[in-house]
Symmetry: C2
Subunit: 423 residues, 2 copies
């Protein structure tokens, strides 16, 4: 089923779901009607309690930013217990291949292992009926457990696929992690150039999937100067003035609302005492866009503002004891991208939702799929859980109610199997 | 000697020392020739070791900003041991009156009790020959010990003065203390309206005295806004933009070089995460001038810039979830002022230096004298020690060599006695 791996280069935006092409619908119907799928679905049902246990076990292994090692080791073991040869790559990602009949470009099914919560956060899961509460219980511990449930189901149904499926737990999806795990897989690791489709299990609900990746560029700008006594050294350059000009000029920029493009001067700091001209101040800036072109344009404007502000300050006051300078450190780079609304992965997912009587909306977000999308590789991010909320907050919760979650897993399974191909 | 308490309202600046008026010179000569002065001077000489012991004892009682109580109690006891009725006022200042023969406006002789060093700083004094080293050993522990030496000398010489002399240890001279001790004495305490001349023993060297008070106004400005997601909430007002405009507009201001007037945007902070429009950012600003008028003018301009910047931001972006606002908190207010170069205190000090064969320069600084100067009360700040350095630094030092320090104390004593009047 080589046609599945057509690299889409079109630029239309996935603003509304198209009618599902007949062949996508029939491919999903073919999957759903197969004996293997039926066996797998039965295992999704009977494996529900195990899935809940897995969520709890994974959630309770702390996995702070840049410290995913312990959870990665445990997750690799959980994949091995399911008969897969799991390994951990140089970046810390867990990878386990489930061989297909034909080989060729692989289908990646992934969830991320990092949470936003720092070391020492109490990650004990609390239960109220079907509701589970803990920091990170949904994002993305539930995604990892759902991935394991899909492996269990495929094994139980003795599902054979045409393409290989690579099950992945990624590191560094959140914040300063900056998609480092998935970026490594697509640009440096052993699977570089060999991936034909990408699924990320992230987010919640039975209504949405992510087909657009918001791109972002983040910078930490440090303005330095000679510093000195506020009274005695008055008249010398002040890096604070360059910082002020940078903010002022940034906030004069006009950006399009469609494709949505944004900026934010977010965090600021520096200086030591009210009676001293500071020697160092700094500013963190966030820029985002649905469009890689608009993001690049905005970034270029910002990167011109900073040296201009420095130059203006050095021209305005004395540089005798030293000049003002700026160090621009990139602290985030998530490429924008989107998956064509006519890409097979999108149409299969729509058909899979339709087969369960549901209509799915497409949207834009920043997820592991960004990297694939930016490289033109068909990618979508589908829900990890049927219902949940307060991700990134200490009171994060999910609802593990059986019926909607088994339904979601059926949708995920049929979408993935349609993409990988079944005999 | 009522003429000594002439309230000077002239505006000429003490930029160069005038020729010493004949009557100032003869008044100091009269003091120096008196039997009482000679007895006092003998005690300055014989009391040298006690003075060194007092410096060490005072230095080793920690006196962090706003925590001068322990040192105050000890200093009051040291005054009592010298036969004075010392008391501690509502603000924490130590006050001890040495009665004169006539009463009337009092002459204040003061040093400050607070240091810049936080609790827990090791204030153990180290000795190398005549050199003493410890945080705060000079500023202003040596000033307090010198004040005690003057009391000892006056007692030993059985010196009688026409005016009462009020010996004072002040709190809150440094930094955020904002001259609160001396301010209380002049504007609220029992001696309000009753002070005719003011001496602060602060600074070091045998060349300088302070006749001008640099005024300063300091503000902590907190800019608040609704805050929100950097991408999702883009388009709403950002308090950071108002902060940027405030800095930019401040640094457009032109201020005179004479009288020297300065400003500094010194410390900045706020925001929580690069992916969030901040709900709160803040800025600390310092403004100073030798001239009260210029300082008031600068302050007025700054206080107009902040609301204008807020208004500009509220007009530039959506205020639907809330407006940007600014809270302007004064964190420092030291009035500018100066003592007329022809004021008796200045001329007596010049004559006292001249009597020891020394020429003294006049300068401007921020000391306890600022408050008196701003109220038109003749005030000067004279050295506490003949040689020292690195005040406010952990490696602060003074040299207690006998000869120059006894000389300095003779100069202080004759200046004070000329001001207070001796029969």
């Amino acid at each position: 089923m080589k046609r599945l791996f057509l690299f889409v280069a079109g630029c239309a935006l996935a603003t509304s779901a198209p009618a599902i092409a007949a062949d996508a619908g029939s491919t999903v119907q073919h999957v759903v009607a197969s004996k293997a799928y039926k066996g797998a679905v039965a295992a999704l049902d009977s494996g529900h309690d195990q899935w809940v246990k897995d969520i709890i076990a994974i959630t309770q292994i702390p996995s702070p930013p840049f410290k995913e090692q312990v959870r990665a080791k445990a997750f690799a073991d959980m994949l091995r217990q399911r008969g897969l040869e799991a390994s951990i790559d140089e970046e810390g990602n867990v990878l386990a291949l489930r061989k297909g009949m034909q080989g060729g470009p692989v289908v990646v099914v992934s969830a991320h292992m990092d949470t936003v919560f720092p070391e020492g956060t109490d990650v004990t899961v609390k239960r109220e009926g079907t509701k589970l509460m803990a920091p990170g219980v949904g994002d993305d511990s539930a995604g990892l457990a759902t991935l394991l449930a899909l492996v269990d189901a495929m094994n139980a149904g003795k599902v054979q696929t045409e393409s290989d499926i690579l099950f992945v737990g990624t590191v560094g999806e959140e914040g300063r992690g900056d998609l480092r795990g998935v970026r490594h897989i697509f640009t440096k690791g052993a699977w570089k150039g060999k991936i034909g489709a990408f699924f990320s299990l992230d987010g919640s609900g039975l209504q949405d999937m992510t087909t657009g990746g918001t791109g972002s560029k983040r910078y930490h700008v440090v303005f330095k100067g000679p510093g000195g006594h506020s009274y005695g050294a008055f008249g010398i350059v002040n890096p604070m003035a360059a910082l002020g000009t940078t903010i002022t000029e940034l906030y004069k920029l006009q950006v399009p609302t469609d494709p949505k493009t944004t900026y934010s001067a977010s965090v600021v700091g520096g200086g030591t005492s009210v009676n001293a001209i500071p020697a160092e101040v700094w500013l963190d800036v966030d820029m985002r866009s649905e469009s890689a072109d608009e993001l690049a344009k905005l970034e270029k404007q910002f990167l011109a503002i900073v040296p201009k502000a420095v130059e203006t300050e050095n021209a305005a006051r004395s540089t005798k004891p030293g000049k003002v300078s700026a160090e621009i450190e990139p602290i985030g780079d998530r490429p924008a991208g989107h998956t064509d609304p006519n890409a097979d992965v999108v149409r299969f997912a729509q058909a899979a939702y339709a087969a369960e009587g549901l209509k799915v909306r497409t949207g834009t977000a920043s997820t592991d799929s960004n990297i694939a999308m930016s490289l033109g590789i068909p990618a979508i991010t589908m829900s990890r859980i049927a219902d949940g909320g307060r991700a990134h907050a200490p009171d994060e919760w999910i609802d593990t109610a059986k019926s909607p979650n088994v339904k979601l897993k059926r949708i995920l399974l049929s979408t993935i199997l349609a993409t990988a191909g079944v005999p």
